[in-house]
Symmetry: C2
Subunit: 223 residues, 2 copies
């Protein structure tokens, strides 16, 4: 097992180095990068569809999609006129910095204001992988139940932003929003929580304003 | 990387051997074992709650719960008078045969008719791990969207049973049940699909009958 640990540590160090290289590149171009992480079916792609629609003509965007199979998610983004590249991980349950680096190249993605990375649908594996992003965003659908932050504490502690999705389903599911907010607050006292429904359009302004603010701050820090 | 592959292969072989040992033990005691796999929040624990309530007094049951954190799920099962043991995997995204073997011992689980193993909430990692079960069950909540089987083909191909959950939400979410059924049929022509709502009680009979039939068949094969 010692061999595995050593080789894994070396691989992790190489991956962290790559992430720093990516981060420098994004700093130079003033690109804000958000790494979206959630269970399958929490609504990452649907939130991105609503986001690129809202920012159309205001900000230049691109999307990297991570999945074990199918180009479906990238196709959904491209249908809105936004460049997207699909990374297929085969069996792997997360993206890594090397895949993002190659994905930008292979996908011929242009320099943009905001790059969204939609990670593989998984609340566990993507948590510790640095992709050179400015911040991680964790999504939790109200249909998934209000016990998830304490059951998956690592990602809720690390993600600067938590987006509660599918709020239109609140009348139909058992979900104590106050409990979820206090679980997140205790795991991540500096985190931000926004409550949204991409389909009904509720709460999206809070999410969009947050992205605008972070993008402006990044551009300011560049000057 | 060659070292990693070799060591991993050896670990996998050891794990498969352990799974076979478990399988022999379950065959000797005539215990039916189901390995439940899904995204976080698809309703595995809620389905198990409804199941143990329905079989109360008819079948002897026990539950092994896998999670990265908290005893919450085992507590929910124990509250119904059914023995349950919680395995905490720390960061790991699946259970393995060794953990199940140790869990039965440490949890002091009695010999039962049906042992349910609720795997860690994850549609990817648990797919290839044999826990000595009779069959895998994949759950998909209608709130997760109707594109999931083709996006996570490995688990839908391997699970003999697919349980569509939260059917009470069908009027409130975009979900084409026919499309999901045909995706599953093409990935797994011999698979069985049942559509349920654990909260509303819809479709549970199909699930319970399936378990009864499989349990009887296992007992028959023992004689």
């Amino acid at each position: 097992m010692k061999q595995v640990v050593t080789v894994k540590r070396r691989a992790l160090a190489a991956s962290e180095e790559r992430a720093e290289t990516l981060r420098s590149r994004f700093a130079a171009s003033g690109t804000l990068v958000a790494n979206l992480i959630s269970s399958p079916g929490s609504g990452k792609t649907t939130l991105l569809e609503a986001t690129v629609r809202a920012f159309d003509g205001e900000l230049r965007m691109a999307v990297i999609e991570g999945d074990v199979a199918t180009e479906n998610d990238a196709d959904r983004i491209r249908a809105l006129g936004v460049p997207a590249h699909q990374i297929l991980t085969g069996g792997a349950c997360h993206l890594d910095a090397r895949q993002v680096e190659n994905g930008i190249k292979e996908g011929g993605l242009p320099e943009v204001d905001i790059l969204f990375i939609e990670n593989v649908g998984n609340l566990i594996c993507p948590t510790t992988y640095d992709l050179g992003e400015d911040f991680k965003v964790v999504l939790l659908s109200v249909a998934e139940g209000d016990d998830k932050p304490v059951k998956y504490p690592a990602i809720f502690a690390r993600a600067e932003v938590a987006v509660i999705t599918k709020s239109d389903l609140l009348p139909h599911v058992p979900f104590d929003l106050g409990s979820v907010q206090s679980q997140i607050a205790s795991l991540n006292p500096n985190g931000t929580v926004v409550v949204t429904s991409s389909l009904a359009g509720e709460g999206l302004d809070g999410w969009l304003d947050l992205l605008r603010t972070r993008f402006e701050a990044k551009r300011q820090s560049q000057r």
